[in-house]
Symmetry: C2
Subunit: 423 residues, 2 copies
């Protein structure tokens, strides 16, 4: 069967073919109102305009109204049957053989906006943001640096998906400049600490799962039902101030070292679009407890990359990894998160943790890639980094390679601005 | 000068005299709509009804519209000049010498609702909840139990107000039943861990500060301006599953051991009402860094109590403490929280941490009071506890004692329900 194609042109290496249709929230030059769209090639299809024009009709009655909102939370709350129908209707409407929108010049003018004319916003209001630590490669590498080879993994690491609560107010959309934070750090001579600009600023290449329907407080989500609560994935950069982190994190975990910014990509790729790229997750040994045990443990074959671009040019790729290396699955994260009764809400964000691979060049943050600053990483001839410099832009990207098409995530970019002047 | 009094009767030991006027969100038997009120004696004054009747007018134009909302977030966002005017207008309107409401029988019928007829709701939508660890007595007692006397305080504790991000979705209002969580715990024989009902469930007596106007991402709030960002205080119970906490918390801090529920009291006592009860905060030694240094370090003389009431009767007070013992001030918490650029939003919640006193009976959680279960605490003849039993209700209360009146917080109550059946 030939690949379905849209009447909107899509290059073969585009991240956004008809098979993807990721959701996002945008405004445009002509219209400052935030509204929901899908990406298709280099265009954004305005779902609010299509809904108003009466083109989004199906058996189920709720989803087309959600497309008139300024965030995806209401749509996320509906659940998979509604999402599936919305996707089917959109794929049909945008197909090259379907004339309703294709032949309506006036509506096309209104509802199809070139990507260079839009500003992207956060796709959802994030009620709570949780960051996991689910890559065995990353946890091992960090553990070896600070505790030695024998004690690399903490005793609980293979037993539960370790996580901490992050800061939701400072989750920002790709493109937002990242101010280098000031914070309390301990100098090499020991106490007293001082307040200064972070000198070891890092990125963490992660993915973020946006939650669909929530659960009631006190009602755990079983691992077998967890997928019904997962709407889609974005790229996530968990900016980290390593010096601040080292001084503050015992005993209650990272706080000011992480809460100054977390960037996510604007286009939410649904699990429907990711379905063709399911693959096996790594084997878990020892066997996990029953509440985390899955009949078929699935992951996704998503190629990941992190690049640093120095201001004024120069730079290159630091990290090449793949989502499939993740030891704990998203379903296990949801089951563990809710096992004690904690409620998730539509739009909540679960970060996977730094997504490293064991291969050379697979370290997904500079702490790991530079062995805590000991080995500078070469970006390009004459350009190397241990940690981030002012003016550096970190660009995360990801895609799944299909047969003749890609399902991609676009980019998650943030440029480092100099710290504010000190007191 | 005689104490101002209302035409609504207020008992001398009431928590809610005219001098308090705490804000809350309620619905009533006759009207399920959530709306804003103030507590006065045993009555709730419906500010939505007064606003609609045109009785809430001042020089400033925004605050009376906020009283038509279903949460206090908009009012909190306005800032102190608006709060002060609202308070002055309400104190005048409710004064026994002011006839406009007093003599309007029909409006009084509509706008003054007996407390026993109302249901209280969360006062604000909590965007982010942060829990500090700011009591030196508590941090020392916990440290001694787990690390011995010499290393009781972590090296960073006197240098910064330690905190972690908590879970905002599971912040619940007083009265909400608390389901004993299940979670991963390590048995006495060591690994493997198992999923079971928490066997050492605890309360933590804390207070919570609700944030007023927020700050922009990247723009720290100086310690001298921090007070302008603080709206009011509530009681807070940070329910804690100690066995889950012990197993999970290294290295990223508490997660499932805390995120199943946090209770707060429904009435937000403003800093205007607390003004007469300002007192000195404990001396800080060593001197703190400049960004945390305050010209006048102030605290509040707020008497705190935690009692356990067993199902079917029996029980008594476990904790007697005072807010004034807190080593770090609320202003310092706000300054530290935002020093790296983290943004606070109206309605955000900052927990103080377990608020212990050094006196006998001053331990503000059972972990500390029972020395981790070694010394059962006597509640009443024949009734003792190491940790919470199913059916126990924990009741936190607090008040400031004035000359002939009290400014009180009411209660923050939660009863422990048995855990869900296991798999
Ligand atoms: Ca992370
Ligand atoms: Ca606490
Ligand atoms: Mg972050
Ligand atoms: Mg809690
Ligand atoms: Ni409809």
């Amino acid at each position: 069967m030939a690949l379905a194609q849209s009447f909107i042109a899509v290059e073969p290496d585009s991240h956004f073919p008809l098979q993807n249709l990721p959701y996002g929230v945008f405004s445009s030059r002509d219209n400052a109102v935030r509204r929901i769209g899908v990406a298709l090639g280099n265009q954004v299809v305005d779902l609010c305009a299509l809904s108003n024009a009466g083109l989004l009709r199906g058996q189920r009655c709720q989803w087309h109204d959600c497309f008139r909102q300024a965030s995806l939370n209401s749509f996320m709350a509906l659940g998979r049957p509604e999402w599936r129908e919305a996707r089917a209707v959109l794929m049909r409407l945008l197909d090259k053989n379907e004339g309703r929108l294709r032949d309506d010049t006036i509506l096309r003018q209104r509802a199809i906006v070139p990507m260079e004319e839009v500003t992207m916003h956060l796709p959802a209001e994030v009620g709570d943001y949780t960051d996991f630590y689910a890559s065995r490669e990353h946890a091992t590498a960090c553990g070896e640096m600070f505790r030695g080879h024998e004690n690399a993994l903490n005793p609980n690491w293979l037993s539960l998906p370790v996580a901490y609560h992050g800061r939701s107010s400072s989750v920002v959309v790709s493109g937002t400049p990242i101010r280098r934070p000031r914070g309390q750090v301990l100098g090499p001579g020991g106490p007293p600490a001082s307040l200064q600009a972070c000198s070891v600023l890092d990125y963490e290449l992660e993915m973020g799962c946006l939650i669909g329907p929530g659960n009631e407080l006190g009602e755990p989500v079983g691992v077998a039902e967890a997928r019904d609560h997962m709407f889609g994935l974005v790229l996530l950069n968990d900016w980290s101030a390593r010096d601040v982190q080292r001084w503050e994190m015992v005993p209650l975990g990272p706080f000011a070292s992480k809460n100054f910014a977390t960037s996510i990509s604007p286009w939410v790729v649904t699990f429907e679009a990711l379905e063709p790229f399911r693959c096996d997750a790594p084997k878990q040994d020892p066997e996990v407890l029953p509440y985390l045990r899955e009949a078929g443990r699935h992951s996704y074959d998503i190629q990941l990359e992190a690049a640093i671009e120095a201001q004024g040019g120069g730079g290159g790729t630091v990290t090449r990894s793949n989502f499939r290396h993740l030891y704990w699955t998203l379903e296990q994260m949801v089951a563990h998160h809710t096992a004690g009764g904690c409620n998730l809400r539509p739009g909540d964000l679960l970060g996977t943790g730094t997504l490293s691979s064991a291969a050379t060049g697979g370290a997904a943050c500079l702490l790991e890639a530079s062995r805590n600053g000991a080995n500078p990483v070469a970006l390009a001839p004459g350009v190397e980094r241990t940690f981030l410099c002012d003016g550096d832009a970190v660009c995360l990207s990801a895609h799944c390679q299909g047969n003749g098409f890609r399902v991609g995530f676009g980019e998650c970019v943030g440029r480092v601005m100099p710290a504010r002047a000190g007191q």
